[in-house]
Amino acid sequence: MLSLLSSLTAMPAVPTSEVLHPANLSWAGFILWMPLVSLVLCGLCAACKVKSKAPATITVICLGTSFLLTLVLWNGYTQPETILLFDWLQIHWDGGSFVANFALYVDSLTLLWMLFVTGLGTLIAVYASEYMEHDVGKGYTRFFAGVSVFLFAMTCLVMGDNLLMLYLGWEGVGFASYWLIGYFYQKPSAVAAAKKAFIVNRIGDVGLALAIYLIWSTFGTVQYDEITTVLQSEAYDASFGGWTVHAIPYLLMLAAFGKSAQLPLYVWLPDAMEGPTPVSALIHAATMVTAGVYLIIRTYPLFMLDDYALPTVAWVGGLTALLAATIAMAQYDIKRIMAYSTISQLGYMFLGLGVVTSYGAAYHVFTHAFFKAVLFLTCGAIMHGFAGQLDLRRLSGLRKMKGWKIVSYTMLVGCLCLAGFPFTSGYFSKDAILAEAFVTQGPGFEVLGWLAIFTAGLTAYYTFRVWFRVCAGPVHFEPGDELHGEDTSSFHPHAPRFAINFVLIVIALGALLAALPYFVPNETENLHGGWVAEMVHDSPARDGVPGVIVDGGQAEAHGTINYEIGHGDILGIDPHKAMYYISAIVGFIGIGFALFFHLYCRSAADKLRGKLLASRATRWLPTAMEHKWYVDEIYIATIRSPLWILGKIFSLFDRYFIDGALVNGIAGLPRVLARWFAPLHNGAIQSYAISMIGGAVLITLLMLFMPEIVEFLQSLSEQNASTEQVVATLGGGK
């Protein structure tokens, strides 16, 4: 509320020159303010100890308003606009300034992101109003306040017109994530997961902060449009910025990898599933984790400045996708499977960015947001209904149970999309990335392409492993441990009611319809890829849109980078066409394996596992996969524990060496000296007399021999001077 007020009252101290302030767009600020209003109202609810569903209503209305405003903004969008809300951080001095206003930058990329962020946000808030109802009066308000904070921060992140706004949102979503993961704050694992998420993200944040410093010191600004202007200006040449332009993309990468859970910073995301499921769906699947992708797309021109920046992104993305997929195959907790699947899909997106198809990445973000939200929300519904049961071995045949049909079939939709089943949205978006891996020439991109195709197969397998286990097969279930006073034997699943079902259907439809934009004809010439491509094309990331020749001007000016587009092929066929068939085949193979092992012959899966475990040569494979390749353990052993031990050592060092030996030692010196002189002050008057006389004698002696002493000292200094003179003469002589 306070910041809202100040935004209204704050007068810009220094007029910002570049902002043409179209009055008709200033209402766009309310996209940002509505979540904040919701937060404040939720806060009031908390203060008044409201014990109803009012917070949910408020949040849904506010977020819905945001979504509607976004729609209106999109509808009226013609060209990029900067909308100044208020002056935030403006430091001017003699010879420079650092300006980061609280301003919005609305271009098509922003709108693309905002549409699904606010849309999904609203829907998931509706879902949560039912999902969280058992907490009404206790954590209900807290939950919706957290969601509001998240939406506010995410809006800042996406809509901010400068990197500092992005940083604000960046840390803000991290904090909201901390807040919501730690929602069940009495559960130690939830608290630990929240902490882990925040701290790991913080590592990325440091990268972002340093990148901002570098960008500012290189370009003199942190505003996106001005950076672009500098890059296109004449001041830009091969020697521009020196080493800094090569360091910037790697620092940004660090930030993106942290937020989007890529190697080596992905470890927080699986643990983040400790939060309520709507949170997992909204934050840890659909929106927040795509912030890294957004960051890289937003700063795509900067990535073009270094030869190895984008290949690095590609390789990290590809490897993450593979690693996460292998882990997902061996997990039993369906929510965790979805988490690893998210990491894997995010890996695809980075792969897409790396192989210079920002369009593909953005499109995958878009489709993934829908189908992964569906998957998480169905998981949530199952968890809600079966008292926290998430183990796929203890659930079966859901689709045959009364009231669970919608859940089962929406989940099927999600699975199909995720597996890349032909003509679903995931099929098109994934193909856009895979094909481009073969199109673009880069270090090992072809290998990456094949790896990604293999991973697609794994994806199809683990996805349908879940669905066949949980929704198909004979009816069987065991409740989880979150029984609210119910007995295990008399347990009845709580089938989801209207709100959840409604949201599931809407989002599932969205997931299916997300394929449509691919076919929407766009107005720009020579542009494939439909609506999303157009949205990306209007942004700084247009280099990665098919049909557009990479604007090699900047890149070539800088070095040897040369992404040749359109020359690659796959087995002699045009990659885009080939990929339609290859990925369909791979998907079917994956689904086929899942069908065999998890529907028709479930015992075979256990047998296979048993066989693998029995043989010494292959034992490591399932063990390592089930233990997530021991990455957490490795991190603890190599980073956390050594640092902790270092802290302990420092603590002891501080106490015993610096404080004990140095400080107290020095402070103890006077005491030691005093021990020598203390006998002089023994209280006997005669000893005082003796010291008095002794002093008098000394002083008299000094006075008597003063001339001699002075003479002696003079002779000494003369000697010194003469030595110096000698030295000086010698030195001078040389």
């Binding site: 203390a678 002050h681 023994n682 209280g683 006997a684 008057i685 005669q686 007399a689 003796i690």
Partner: protein
């Protein structure tokens, strides 16, 4: 008119005064009887008095003798007060040992 006074004669007087001062000091330090200690300070006063008068004589300056008058004054005052204190202390501890009054000592 007074006759002049040779420097070597002055030296003689000063040496005597120094002897008295030194012996008085030794006495003050070694003796433990409070009253004798005071007597020793008086002895040091004597030494000082001789030095004052001798130097005054050397310069025909009578301030030296005036100083001796003040020394007498101080000695008298000191005797009165110190002896009063000694009487008081003796009443308390029934001893004149200076070392016996060490309560304020650390």
């Amino acid at each position: 008119m007074m006759t002049t006074f040779a420097p070597s004669a002055l030296s003689g007087y000063l040496i005597v005064s120094g002897l008295l001062l030194a012996i008085g000091f030794i006495g003050f330090f070694v003796r433990r009887n409070l009253i004798v200690m005071f007597l020793c300070t008086e002895l040091m006063f004597q030494g000082a008095a001789i030095a004052f008068v001798a130097v005054g004589r050397y310069y025909f300056d009578y301030s030296g003798q005036v100083m001796v008058i003040f020394i007498l004054t101080v000695a008298a005052a000191e005797a009165a007060l110190a002896l009063a204190l000694v009487v008081l202390l003796h009443r308390q501890n029934n001893t004149l040992d200076a070392d016996a009054f060490g309560e304020l000592q650390e």
